[in-house]
Amino acid sequence: MDLNGDGHLDILSGSYSAREIKGMAGLFQVLWGSEKGFEKEVTPLKGSDGKPLLIGDPSNDDTMTDRICTRPTAVDWDSDGDLDLLVGNFKGSLFLFRGEGGGKFAPQSEDLKLAIEGYHSDPFCVDLDGDGDLDILSGSSNGGVQWAENTAGKGKEITVKGFKSLISEGSREPIWANQKAGPAGSTRVWADDLNGDGKLDILMGDSTTINSPAKGLSMEKVFLAEKEWEEKMLIMRTEMQNPSEDSKDQSKLRNEYNKLSRSRSEFLTSERTGFVWLYLGK
């Protein structure tokens, strides 16, 4: 999106947490576009006070989950002609930084008192129901897509009551490499008419774990090995819940537990990844 109105595309991103911030807080990062292309460096988005934008009250440690794992989208929330910043976070709530034009934003965020089901709110605004105003879509740690209907109408400040399910939650269980599987959890959403048929399509990113037999083992052998491994792990976890008072024994038990835990890779390999799912509009 063109965040500062200079006619060039900018890339806006959230982040998990900046290392240079005391406590934890995910800054909003921008790769500014210009007539020469994108700038060389990604830079934190700043408020009109010149300081990096942070959600909520940074001095309040109790609200840390409001400020991490941020996900921004730029939208004219109040229909005043300039872009505002609607942001999600780890907690699953939504905040707003009012735009002041030209890529400037108010330093203080507003708590919209709005939250998704699950964590990792992921707002994206689009006219989903075709009534002329912008609704809010969101992914979630639970998977799926949620949406909040804007009831204000075109040309008015976005007004929503709450989120409801649009696309059902995905499975967060690992899948096998040859398994038929649908979308998983930890979703991020985007919407557009991808194929130009005049209908809105949805892109949804997810996060999943794909298991495969190690060393060419058959699935049968993997299942047997995993069953045996899980039984041993259960015994060891039980032992660890009732530890000896001797610190040497505790250390030995931890080492044995870690060794057993790692031995899973002898029969099973796991790949953590994420896919992009396309839902074409009907």
Partner: protein, 101 residues
């Protein structure tokens, strides 16, 4: 839609939607870039967006990921399908969003 063919056994499951006649969707399919699945590096967390970043008038698929905050760009063909992807780079250097690792 011509592309986005399914790959081997990765057949999508039926989509469960809330019933709403104004917006209904086909069953989901994994996005493909040519013959390859669009996917991200470990630990996952694919974050897609759709915008014309190469200025050819066709929107492209951008996919962010958690690992090092890198972004893949898959050039759009104008019909909703995309070609082979590459990392988003500026002056040959891969762009990394700070604050993820």
């Amino acid at each position: 839609m011509k592309m986005h063919s399914l790959w081997g056994f990765f057949v999508a499951t039926p989509l469960a939607l809330t019933t709403a006649s104004a917006f209904e969707f086909e069953s989901p399919v994994r996005m493909m870039a040519g013959d390859h699945l669009v996917k991200v590096q470990s630990p996952g967390y694919a974050a897609p967006s759709w915008a014309d970043v190469d200025g050819d008038g066709k929107k492209d698929l951008l996919v962010g990921q958690f690992s090092k905050g890198k972004i893949q760009v898959f050039p759009g063909k104008g019909d909703g399908s995309v070609g082979k992807g590459d990392w988003l780079k500026v002056d040959g250097k891969i762009v990394e969003i700070p604050g993820v690792w």
